[in-house]
Subunit: 176 residues, 2 copies
């Protein structure tokens, strides 16, 4: 009986790892966004941190902004604009109080990353020729299952970023 | 006159880059914390993201939790406890509204990472033998200038983490 239990635990553990590994590498060969033709970048979850933010209001998320090596280098050198090849990823999670942490602290002070919302993953991709019509950047949004948002949603990206033109259309500043 | 101006701009730009590069690599050979003997880990700012959080109350910071490769691997495999060599870094910045972003959005909804507070940088270092008396983890806190907090402050780390013993004393969960 103990042996069966042990085997069951092992099988369950292996299945969990397999599920995790599948999730970690999923969607990178998936569907491109319908406007800019951008697919999810392989390995984006391993990219280096640019900064973090909380977006209140309707979105009510907490987010990490990561960059590929070209973007990180450009940020760290304090460049005014990004070179072609720079990619910035924005990962969002629902902004939730942590009940388990607050129980320890004795008050509601800890807000953490919860489940992934429909706007989980966004990319800005710098290609000054390909995306000349939208300030040199292509934009893409995917949900946690790797499904791109529709064309109408993608039409809203560039207009919202235009007021940040002085910062090469990028809202996020680097946090040392 | 124009040439002098141009030279001045160039010198200023080079100085800025030099200052930045110095800041990026500073403090890694600095002072160890006075209780656990931990120094700032070289390259911690390049580590992979575990998750993000907002700590309200007295701290009122927004934070990123990063891990070295051993910690990230352990998280991603869903392990219950961390192996020796795992290091978790917690970087905090003051939690501030972004005036430049809110002006664009037309309302106060964007909260970003501001300047670094005195508790800018913390590490948890797993060494089950060396730190057996504190649950197998050593703790260290440094300010933005690389100065470790005092011994009294370091005495508060472990007691606060004890209630999270079931999670191997680690508060932060991995955000996929």
């Amino acid at each position: 009986m103990r042996r069966i239990f042990s085997i069951a635990v092992t099988v369950f553990a292996l299945a969990s790892v397999a599920t995790y590994l599948a999730a970690a590498s999923a969607h990178t060969d998936g569907e491109a966004d319908p406007v800019f033709g951008i697919k999810i970048f392989p390995g984006y979850r391993d990219w280096k941190l640019i900064s973090v933010a909380h977006e209140a209001g309707n979105l009510n998320d907490i987010r990490a902004i990561l960059g590929n090596d070209i973007a990180i280098k450009s940020y760290r050198e304090g460049k005014q604009s990004f070179p072609d090849g720079a990619v910035i990823a924005r990962l969002s999670w629902n902004y939730v109080p942590s009940e388990e942490n607050n129980k320890i602290f004795g008050r509601d002070q800890s807000f953490v990353a919860g489940s992934a919302p429909d706007w989980y993953l966004q990319f800005m991709v710098k290609d000054s020729k390909k995306y000349a019509a939208t300030g040199g950047w292509g934009y893409a949004q995917f949900d946690k299952d790797g499904k791109p948002a529709d064309a109408a949603k993608h039409g809203t990206c560039y207009p919202c970023h235009v007021p940040a033109k002085d910062r090469d259309y990028v809202f996020t500043r680097y946090s040392p």
